[in-house]
């Protein structure tokens, strides 16, 4: 039944909906980063794709890929460097010594409970309507 298939596709789209996020920001001293184990750093990298490194002179490195070097004395990766007035100074590969770092910022996204609540209502509606579709006699 063509119409039934179309309606089931609509139902699927309707169930997916969109996700709203909430932001969790963490500010760490460079020493805290140095003390982290590799799995802890890997977890941070997975959750926070960007790393903001606030320098003591007011500059800011925005890393879109990063790692801590083996000696745990520098952050290495691809970054954009901003001045205190937030003009772009440079872009590209950067190695930032932790000595000059004031704070390290990470930002995590979590699905908002508002999003979860709407998804539950969507899912219940979709399940009930799907069951009704299934119970319809075929052609």
């Amino acid at each position: 039944m063509r119409l039934r298939n179309i309606l089931l596709i609509i139902l699927t789209i309707f169930m997916i909906g969109c996700t709203f996020y909430q932001l969790k920001r963490e500010i760490n001293l460079p020493g805290t980063f140095q003390k982290m184990t590799q799995p802890q750093l890997d977890e941070k990298k997975t959750k926070s794709p960007f790393l903001k490194v606030h320098m003591k002179n007011g500059n800011l490195y925005l890393f879109d890929s990063w790692k801590i070097d083996e000696a745990k004395s520098a952050i290495v990766g691809n970054a954009t460097l901003f001045s205190p007035t937030r003009e772009v100074i440079s872009k590209g590969q950067a190695t930032v010594s932790l000595d000059g770092v004031a704070l390290i910022e990470t930002n995590f996204l979590k699905p908002s409970p508002a999003s979860t609540a709407l998804k539950i209502v969507s899912a219940i509606s979709a399940v009930i309507l799907t069951l009704l579709f299934i119970s319809l006699p075929g052609e």
Partner: protein, 219 residues
Amino acid sequence: MVIVEGRKMNKIEVSMKKDEIFHLATFLILFLVISCKTFHAPPQYLPTAKQAQSDVYGGWIEVKTNKGNINGELIAIQEKRVFVADLRTLHEIDLEDILSARLVTYNPESSKVFFQTAGGIVSTSILAFLIAVLTAERASSLEEILGAIFLPAAIIIVATPIWVTVGTGAAIYQSNLPIIDYPKKPLDAFIPFARFPQGIPPDVDKNSIRMKIPKKEMK
């Protein structure tokens, strides 16, 4: 006659349900307007939660002091002062002068919650209506037609208030998520969302600092 009377009763019941739904919707909309915290950030100033991950500016702050109101970008909180930049200058506000303050850390996109709720109501209603049509197509008597309509109609009558209630609650929750209020929360909670969470470095010329200029399209 019984069927006719039954139909009349159904109409009255449906009409009462419609009134109840209308009153509930009006109440919930008023509740939504009252419960959602307001702020006056310029359009396009606030990044979304996703964009805030790579935004290099401070959050939007509205400070009420005993000398007047100051709105702008939160630059830093240090030495018992709050630094707020607008398009003209950098304001230094003594903590003791602050009556209240509101920080908005990102755009909550509450309108998306509203549209998803509206979409949920519309799609549930359309699909329930189509089920009724498909079932009624095969009905051979008036009783069967009424039977085919009953369940989808009940789904619409029950689902709409649930959608409205959950959607309103979700919109209120979402709109309040990125807001931090002082004195409800200490000003220390504002610091991670300042342009300089470490404080303004001594070498930086304070006169050069201006708030972020809102862009029409932010990546």
